[in-house]
């Protein structure tokens, strides 16, 4: 169902650009912490693939085995609170999640996601207007989130221009390389 809807949406929009994402929703509540996203017992490894195998393990044991490339996480307030571990957005990215939409993000997770090029959007209305298993289409350039099941479209909070530069470069490392004139 999800694939079909995404395909139709893609045909409708006639795009192949990466700025538009589409996927099935995994929904969680408030204060999803980094121990929930990737338990610390797995921090003796650091590649996205290894970490993805244990993503969300302690709060949603089916996530890692059932998540599909392109899926979207939708969550409540303070997503990614707790530790500074970059392993958390790496695990999510490694699992194939294309975007995280939340009411708000914990500060360090917010930085980490932007730094490694994991798209994240803050949008309270999109969170309340979306159920698990529905399909979202996300337009990163416009900051819009469309629920393809209900047809509703939501506008996410815009990024400051400096951060748009980091996001546009593909993360903090390519941004820094460009700035230092080595990229």
């Amino acid at each position: 169902m999800s694939d079909e809807m995404c395909l139709k949406a893609k045909r409708r929009a006639n795009y192949v650009r990466l700025e538009k994402l589409c996927g099935r929703v995994w929904k969680y509540g408030d204060n999803v912490n980094t121990d929930a996203i990737i338990p610390a017992r797995y921090l003796n490894v650091s590649t996205p693939e290894e970490l993805a195998a244990h993503c969300m393990e302690d709060i949603d044991s089916g996530f890692a085995s059932q998540v599909e490339a392109g899926d979207v996480i939708v969550s409540g307030a303070n997503f990614g609170c707790g530790s500074s571990r970059e392993h958390a957005p790496l695990a999510i990215k490694g699992a194939g999640i294309s975007c995280v939409v939340a009411v708000s993000f914990a500060r360090i997770f917010y930085r980490n996601a932007i730094n490694i090029g994991l798209p994240i959007l803050e949008c309270r209305k999109a969170v309340s207007g979306t159920e698990a298993g529905q399909t979202l289409e996300v337009d990163l350039t416009q900051g819009t989130i469309t629920n393809l099941d209900s047809g509703e479209t939501f506008q996410a909070e815009p990024y400051p221009s400096f951060l748009m530069g980091v996001i546009g470069a593909g993360g903090l490392i390519p941004y820094t390389r460009r700035r230092l004139g080595v990229g």
Partner: protein, 426 residues
Amino acid sequence: MGQTIAEKILSAHVKRGAPTGGEVSPGKLVEVRVDMVLANDITAPIAIREFSRIGVDRVFDPEKVALVPDHFAPNKDMKAAEQCRQLRDFARAQGIKNYFEVGRMGIEHVLLPEEGLVLPGDVVVGADSHTCTYGALGAFGTGMGSTDIAVAMAIGSIWMKVPETIRVLYYGELQPWVGGKDLILYTIGTIGVDGARYQAIEFAGPAIADLPMSGRFTMANMAIEAGAKAGLFAVDDATRAYLEPRAGRPYTAYDADPDATYTRIVEVDVSEIEPQVAFPHLPSNVRPISQVGEVCIDQSVIGLCTNGRWDDLALAAEVLRGRQVHPNVRCIVIPGTQGIYLRAVREGLAEVFVEAGAALSTPTCGPCLGGHMGVLAAGERCVSTTNRNFVGRMGHPTSEVYLANPAVAAASAVLGRIAGPEEVID
């Protein structure tokens, strides 16, 4: 216009002409110079990998980088051993002398202040969320991820959003057995786990003047558990006395201007506060010790970066002296540094712990994050002086962690259930 402590420190470190702009007011993005960049054996491997992608050969200043193998060290398994080796090899290759080997190390946030590596007015960024601990010294310490730390190691500066500040004023006289841990748990219980998200907290008021440095470190350490970017104290005589034997360079002490702007002022009458216990699974889920009820425990963990300083161990020893750990309980004591460990040996605390039937460990973060040295089985309960009690934090997802101060953790170890020290000491 008046400035908060955070605004003053960031103003003194702002890098002019950076792509962020340079206006130091809440909500604005700035690039700031850093005085110390920190990573550990969990976060440094990614930082080193990302550093190698930047295209610079050397760290910006090997004197201003600290690498501490503390989380899964002493090496808990082969994969952890490889991560620790990456840290060690990178430190050697880069000439980083602030690398602390097992046997000479400590838990980073206890170690760096003890070594005089963080001083008032500094900006410290660390790939560890509890880098906010340095706020106890009037330094702007904040946690970031590994990629941020890689960039800070490469260029000596990093972007930040200037935070708004919440001021928490503590007044009144502390009850017996109440300290920094209880004040911060109570505060998190009041404002919530995201009550200070993206903001700085200034801890102030007359009750803070009476609080020893150990208690201030504990409070600043847990500022992140309210979502804060930094948790800051003004420098006073207690800070200067702590720094006197440690500071090897001049420092600048900042206090807030009387007309500084705060987003919120919270007042706390500490005389009303009993020892606090944070129930699973959030640090904000606090109850006073009198309202805990019957909670039997399997383990008690005392020490680590939140409560592993000398005063903390002395409090626990006061409760455990001449008593026995309950037959159903494993009590694990982890001093914050080898220096504190050695003092515990010299001054008899080690004997108290071992005679009581507790395990006394070299410094490691191990059990706090379910790594090693005290991982919990399914359904087990632990009272711990650490800072997080999330689902699965110390082991199995069905295990439970209750956060408390060292005297409560020690008394609980004796009685086999969560209890205040007054139940143990007549």
